[in-house]
């Protein structure tokens, strides 16, 4: 799959994952990496950027083992962005499907 295409979709994936609940870095990277063939390392630059844009905030939470973990929580702005991207994605895939299905009438 095209790398640029995947990177664009990655943003939607991360925001959607956080919509289900707060997560820490490894969980996000692992969840996305399991489904999409992409270097998990590229999740972290994305998290940093989305955080800088105010789509989510971070807080530290004690973990049962070792030091506190950095958790990501979606902000209202991030939630709005997720809805926006999800709609865009649905419209886009619906349009593409008409071509793939061959029933573009």
């Amino acid at each position: 799959m095209n790398t640029q295409f995947k990177k664009g979709v990655l943003e939607l994936c991360v925001l959607s994952l956080l919509k289900q609940g707060d997560k820490y870095g490894y969980e996000l990277a692992d969840s996305v990496g399991k489904q999409i063939d992409i270097s998990e390392g590229s999740i972290y630059p994305l998290l940093k950027r989305l955080r800088a844009e105010g789509f989510f905030e971070v807080y530290l939470k004690e973990s049962p083992s070792g030091p506190a973990r950095k958790y990501y929580r979606l902000t209202q702005k991030g939630a709005d962005m997720q809805v926006h991207l999800e709609n865009e994605w649905r419209e886009f895939t619906a349009s593409v499907s008409t071509f793939i299905g061959g029933d573009s009438e």
Binding site: Y24, G25, Y26, E27, A29, D30, G33, S39, E40, G41, S42, Y44, P45, L46, K48, R49, A52, S65, G66, R69, K70
Partner: protein, 185 residues
């Protein structure tokens, strides 16, 4: 590649960032390794999943706050300044490359004119002196064909040849002087 190697390489490529940003990123990746190890993965496995540390660092550099400063504008083509008006002869000061180039061109012109002058000066002197010869010829000619037309023809011829010689002399002299001054020798 193991954890130490990965973090070392990532760290090295993140050097353009501030120390604060860099240590935060490294801490995130240390957390990532810790969480992966807790789930029973090996360091090598985690590294393989993370991918190339260099590619990863590049993505950080692109999205970093410290990289927000706009890059310097691309070099723009600077139109050469309009040629300054030619100042009066004599008190000109060398100002620009343009000026120097003009001087070189004038210098070349000077030598061309000088070369031509070698031929032009004797010719114009000869032309200006030839009315004397014509005068002698005219005396003989008028003596043999004493008509007004012959007198007019001789006078016209001598005036024309003299003017031609004078014109050639003055033109060459003017060009020589002009190019000599412009060249600023």
């Amino acid at each position: 590649m193991n954890k130490t190697e990965f973090l070392q390489e990532l760290y090295n490529h993140l050097l353009p960032l501030s120390a604060e940003e860099r240590s935060e990123i490294i801490a995130d990746f240390e957390d990532h390794f810790r969480a992966g190890l807790e789930r029973g993965k090996t360091e090598e496995q985690i590294c393989a999943e993370l991918g190339n540390p260099y590619t990863c660092a590049l993505q950080f550099l692109r999205t970093s706050d410290t990289q927000q400063t706009p890059p310097p504008p691309p070099p723009q083509y600077n139109a050469p300044p309009a040629a300054p008006p030619v100042p009066p002869y004599g008190n000109r000061t060398p100002q620009s490359v343009n000026d120097r180039r003009n001087k070189t061109l004038w210098g070349i012109l000077f030598f061309i004119v000088l070369f031509c002058a070698i031929g032009v000066y004797p010719a114009s002197i000869a032309l200006m002196l030839c009315p004397i010869a014509i005068l002698i010829a005219a005396i003989v000619a008028v003596a043999f064909v004493p008509t007004g037309i012959m007198v007019g023809l001789m006078i016209s011829l001598s005036v024309f040849l003299f003017s031609l010689g004078l014109f050639g002399f003055l033109l060459t002299t003017w060009l020589l002087k002009l190019s000599y001054r412009r060249a600023g020798f």
